[in-house]
Subunit: 305 residues, 2 copies
């Protein structure tokens, strides 16, 4: 690897963790020329070598210090709890550097990283750490699923902190804009609450449903006679269990609140079914259909229909 | 309308309720020539006239007695609870006829119809009533969504009774086979249990989730930042509220059991999240992913991927 150049106009980007998201980001940054070089870092040489073979990174290293020395931008694209552990490990060593690399991430939860970073930096947000979350994915995983178009028309949420170096925020914003994503800002707590509701809770429900059905006596008939609606509803239960285990733990406070809120609504519907309350069921189902139809129109207007 | 002919080789089929399912069945029976004539009956002349305009029925009547006099096969394609009410109304008047029409239905629940029919026929299953359930649908509804190909490669479950006239069962079986569906038999109780698990419960969960999110303070941000996984997961919440209100009430016993079973599993996942039990979460999510992936392969092998 060559030495990192602070002066180069196009930055050297190091992707830590070359899975679906990291690989897709690398592929996009290479394709658009946003990065001068795109490098991989990780523990598994096979994935990194495959990344070079696929042409989505230029080179790789297994050495974290080398990765940090090369990087203008370091993107933590590991599972959520690994990103948290990496921040705890990396940040103290960067405190004394005059101009540490910009560090960003792609994790689905921001609160745990925000707290870990603050603790590791001495009760203050590291100025060059810009937390980010691309809202894109696939039930496929691994570097072979990488797709340079994955972020086009999708949202990337940044959760900049008051302590952030504005140039670092601008660089991360520019990186994501280059992928075709729409970059928006949110507060850390709002992000975690909204993602718990729209993503983490549905995944938990899908996993719980499929597990409940699979453990039933009638599971064979159940899967034999299930149809298209069931397929759509349970598709997200095919997502990576390690990733979702980490997300569930990292976002536990907001997710538990979401589960409880959902359970209250389910209990109300259950009560209406038990007392054959046709009006209550009709009201709830109609309200839900209106909200869902409105959401459909919203997605269609964003070109994601 | 011409007089019904018992001798014609191709039967006259009367569709009661010309919505998505009734309209699609009519369209298919007309296209294949399974029926000599395909007639519509209902309370709403506009839908029936539209059916004639679309060429999916030959003619229609608003008069139930005329419909019964014409029909070799009467298909109740109304919402579930309307089908139950119709059976209560029609069956007593048919008891004295030497050769009443074969009656069948398309409802998503069989137990309530089975009980209603038995009560109306004098504690015995009407020999010419063959309960059936095509497992096909769409979030679209109404006659304009009718599609002659809707049942191709989909399953139709018959729940024949020991008291059934074998010729009536054979005729209903032949009718559904002509649409390209795969016709299978099940017991009434097994049908309702399996459908509660695979279809009615997921719909209740989707409605409850969307309603919970829509009633949240953050609902605007929630729908703004929701992505593709959420879209798939909640698609079924766009289904017809009247239809699902009826299904929930008609299949209350099996559905309540399914809700309770699901709630137990959700409670277990909630507990694992609360105590940050990474192993328990990983086990559950992995088990669910395996079951879901297996189901995907099953659907793919049936040509429904």
């Amino acid at each position: 690897m060559r030495a990192a150049s602070e002066e180069s106009s196009a930055p050297t980007v190091v992707i830590a963790g070359l899975g679906l998201i990291g690989g897709s980001l690398a592929a996009s940054l290479k394709a658009t020329g946003f990065c001068q070089r795109c490098l991989g870092w990780g523990h598994r040489e096979a994935s990194l070598a495959r990344g070079v073979e696929l042409g989505i990174i230029d080179d790789y290293t297994l050495d974290l210090d080398e990765a940090l020395a090369e990087a203008d931008i370091l993107v933590l694209a590991t599972p959520t709890l690994v990103a948290e552990a990496l921040l705890r490990e990396i940040l103290p060593s960067l405190r004394e550097r005059p101009r540490p690399p910009v560090i960003t991430d792609v994790a689905s939860v921001k609160g745990n990283l925000w707290h870990a970073a603050r603790a590791a930096w001495g009760d203050r947000h590291p100025p060059r750490l810009v937390l980010a979350h691309p809202i894109a994915g696939s039930e496929r995983s691994g570097v072979d699923a990488a797709n340079a178009q994955l972020f086009v028309n999708h949202r990337v949420i940044l959760t900049p902190d008051a302590d952030n170096d504005p140039a670092a925020v601008a660089l991360v914003r520019a990186m994501w804009a280059s992928t075709g994503a729409e970059v928006v800002d949110m507060a850390v707590e709002a992000h975690d609450r909204v993602l718990a509701a729209t993503s983490h809770l549905p995944h938990v429900l899908a996993y719980a449903l499929v597990d409940a059905l699979a453990s039933s006596d009638a599971s064979e008939d159940i899967f034999r006679f299930a149809a298209g609606g069931f397929r759509d509803f349970t598709r997200i239960a095919s997502s990576d269990p390690v990733m979702w285990r980490d997300i569930a733990i990292a976002n536990a406070p907001a997710l538990l609140q979401s589960i409880d809120r959902f359970s209250e609504h389910l209990k109300a519907v259950r009560g209406a079914i038990e007392r054959a309350d046709a009006d209550a069921l009709h009201d709830t189902f109609t309200r839900a259909k209106s909200a869902r139809d409105e959401f459909s129109r919203l997605l269609a207007s964003r070109g994601q229909s």
